[in-house]
């Protein structure tokens, strides 16, 4: 069982080696700046100088999206194993699936009606 994962390890090492070597090469081969100035290191602001750093605040929708994602992604994690054995379970499996999705649908309708799916500005 475990030896199926050996090729993945080998492949993963090569996949790791290439980006790392590119980064290392970019340090070795990069041109050095001849002149240092403070302005070069400032964050990009389309030429407008940056004001004092302030607390960044985001719309609530980003947090709602994150929570909805967790709910629905866990749904998928539960559905995948069921999908694999669905043909053997036949009608029992299908009813389980229907039951599971029905419960989720209640939550989904609730979330929709509450307006959590609208993007707020």
């Amino acid at each position: 069982m475990l030896d199926r994962w050996l090729p993945f390890l080998i492949y993963g090492l090569f996949a790791l080696a290439i980006p790392v070597s590119m980064i290392v090469m970019s340090f070795v081969l990069a041109t050095r700046p001849t002149r240092r100035s403070r302005a070069r290191g400032l964050p990009f602001e389309s030429g407008v100088s940056q004001g004092p750093l302030e607390q960044q605040r985001f719309t609530i929708s980003f947090y709602l999206t994150a929570m909805l994602f967790i709910v629905f992604d866990i749904e998928i994690v539960f559905l995948y194993p069921l999908a694999v054995v669905l043909e053997q379970l036949a009608w029992f499996g299908f009813l389980e699936l229907l039951f599971f999705i029905a419960i989720l649908a209640v939550a989904y309708v609730y979330v929709w009606r509450k307006g959590a799916l609208e993007w707020r500005r």
């Binding site: 030896d3 492949y11 980006p19 990069a30 070069r40 995948y80």
Partner: protein, 329 residues
């Protein structure tokens, strides 16, 4: 079929390099094709027909000054593009590309990795890649970067749900999560793009959003956000982010071919298997470029509404209907 480990090593090197080559020439083909669609010539100075352009780009990127923004968190700032690129490259490992051959008395299988949870592994690696985007945007301590990475993260997680649900029909029909089994099953019955047509459409749309391609390229909408999460990046680190993005697109197209278009199957596929696979892959990649040249970008609230209110129910209903048909028939 037990192979000695060095065959896996050779296959890994070949596949990793082929993916990188495809990525390099994807950048050229994209610029060329888009240019022709807009009645321009595109890059044509480096080499005949601009064929050496990717090499020139590589040299340019690697020679750029390695630059740190004043406020950046240095370690994370460097690690982020590497994380994205590594996960993108690794995800390709599970894609089968041929029937397997006997070369000099050794059995060489037509895949690098065949694990029973290949599909989940692929999605998991794709999700890990998001860490690179969000860390990169956060570590560079710039408004545009942070906004871009928040947008990227929200968009990717929203569409990942639909993406994973849209292939549920395929999993139900083939009864396996291993991509090798899914390809075999399609050869026995029929290619899944016929029975799973709704699944294909939702998969493709969600896939475009997952790879930040137009019309869903909100994370780097240049008119609003400059360049999104990689605003502060330059040189090879910027190059690695681009690489991650293009390789994600290649992997997604390969997955699309594998799940819906019969993988490497085709006429005379004992010998020509990999060629069929590459041909189908290129056609899907062309569609990606075509859509970018044709469609205008969505607004952010439209994007989120579309993902949660249309794509998600469509994918769920498709899975449910497939389950019903599989059980009833």
């Amino acid at each position: 079929m037990n192979e000695p480990w060095w065959i896996d090593g050779i296959k890994s090197v070949v596949i990793v390099n082929l993916v990188l080559l495809t990525f390099a020439y994807m950048t050229l083909v994209e610029r060329k094709v888009m240019a022709r669609m807009q009645l321009r010539y595109g890059p044509n100075r480096a080499g005949p027909f601009g064929l050496l352009q990717p090499m020139a780009d590589l040299v340019k990127l690697i020679r750029k000054e390695s630059f740190f923004p004043a406020n950046a968190v240095d370690t994370l700032y460097i690690a982020a593009p590497v994380v994205s690129a590594v996960t993108a490259l690794t995800a390709f490992a599970v894609i089968p590309f041929g029937p397997g051959w006997e070369i000099f008395g050794y059995d060489v299988s037509g895949y690098v990795v065949n694990v029973p949870i290949a599909l989940i592994l692929l999605f998991a690696l794709g999700s890990l890649g998001i860490y690179g985007f969000i860390i990169g945007g956060w570590a560079s301590e710039s408004k545009y970067s942070l906004l871009g990475s928040m947008r990227t993260c929200a968009q990717l997680v929203s569409y990942e749900v639909s993406l994973a649900l849209s292939v549920l029909g395929v999993v139900i029909m083939s009864g396996s999560l291993s991509l090798v089994d899914i390809v075999d099953k399609q050869n026995e019955t029929m290619w899944f793009f016929v029975p799973q047509f709704v699944g294909l459409i939702t998969f493709f749309i969600a896939g475009i959003a997952e790879t930040n391609r137009a019309p869903f390229d909100l994370p780097e909408a240049e008119q609003e956000l400059v360049a999104g999460y990689h605003t502060e990046y330059s040189g090879m680190r910027f190059g690695l982010f681009q690489m991650a993005e293009y390789i994600n697109m290649i992997t997604l197209s390969a997955l699309c071919v594998t799940l819906f278009f019969g993988g490497w199957h085709g006429w005379n596929d004992d010998v020509l298997g990999p060629l069929w696979f590459i041909l189908k892959l290129l056609i899907i990649l062309f569609v990606f470029i075509w859509m970018r040249a044709t469609l205008p970008r969505l607004r952010y609230d439209q994007l989120m509404a579309f993902g949660w209110k249309i794509l998600l129910p469509a994918a769920t209903l498709n899975a449910l209907l497939t389950a019903l048909l599989v059980v009833a028939l």
